[in-house]
Symmetry: C2
Subunit: 200 residues, 2 copies
């Protein structure tokens, strides 16, 4: 299988961490992709031009990260990083949605800088996105994700989100959130996949 | 169950159409939500402040639309709008991801207008999002979603996307895409849920 991604993509990292935890990394070839290059093959495989995208041996391409993770989980036997059913499943999936939403709001702040000159950026928009990040982090501080022997896609997603904030915005998310800061240290100590997928 | 949404939200419409198809609409109370109002209860139930969000009788809130649809599908017996397993499941989920991605790119164009004065909008950003919409629609024109007796969440998502483009951008998406235009007419004729959830 071919995974198109980039080292800095937090959604790509989520897939890579899941693949490592599921013991599937040796079946996946990673191809580095530039989503802003109109000639990059990604726009053929995923018309949205977004990473990550996973091309299977039969030529089918799966996206986005949630779909890929579910596919890998089934490939590994099912019910591993995504609990198979019941409340545990929907807790993990909603936690993943929260983490994805924080990442989306953080990425939109980065795009604000990449796509616009300084005098054309819109503070109201940046604050609206920052509000999602702050409220999301506060909710995580109040209800830390449970860490199980095999991490769920919810806690993997949260770890990717916090790692992305570290990478792009520095350590300030830790201010006033000591429990979440300690949680990430614990996560990284338990699961080597966190260090193995760290963006440089 | 309480579904927080708004009449114009295409992601909310996706959940409503799925609920109608699954015969669950009489179990759901819809509460109209303004995501831009800081005092709206949505920011307590979903820290991201996004709709749709489904609050269950035990007080748990599920989000986003994909998670809610999967929950409703299981509640209706499973394997209805989301095929239970195999290639059919991942085809439907990837098609849903394509539809969601087109909707996201269309919504970002609307937000460009809502959040910014005309002289501060960024054509490069709008074109980047429009490119996702155009390539996504071209891919759908080339590979029309299969219509089964019970629609999958993939085709429901595509119908919501096209309905949203009609609602916000008018009919121009049909130019050069006669098969997709005919597909939507067919979809609306087969499934009354399309007309029942039409934004006004």
């Amino acid at each position: 299988m071919i995974l198109r991604s980039s080292p800095a993509s937090p959604f790509g990292r989520k897939v890579k961490m899941a693949a490592i935890v599921l013991g599937l990394m040796d079946k996946i070839e990673i191809v580095v992709t530039n989503t802003l290059d109109p000639d990059d093959a990604i726009r053929k495989q995923n018309p949205l031009g977004k990473i990550p995208a996973l091309t299977l041996d039969d030529g089918t391409t799966l996206y986005d990260s949630r779909v890929i993770v579910e596919y890998l989980d089934i490939l590994a036997g099912g019910g591993k990083v995504i609990p198979a059913s019941g409340k545990d499943r929907f807790d993990a999936l909603t936690l993943q949605a929260l983490a994805d939403g924080i990442m989306d709001a953080a990425i939109l702040q980065i795009y604000e800088i990449r796509f616009r000159e300084e005098d054309r950026r819109e503070p109201k928009w940046v604050e609206h996105q920052m509000g999602k990040v702050e409220r999301g982090l506060d909710a995580l501080e109040a209800h830390l994700p449970h860490l199980s022997p095999v991490p769920t896609i919810g806690s993997i997603g949260v770890a990717c989100t916090l790692g992305y904030l570290d990478f792009r915005f520095g350590e300030t998310w830790r201010n006033g959130r000591p429990k979440l800061a300690a949680w990430l240290i614990d996560f990284a100590a338990r699961y080597p996949a966190y260090a193995e997928t760290m963006p440089r």
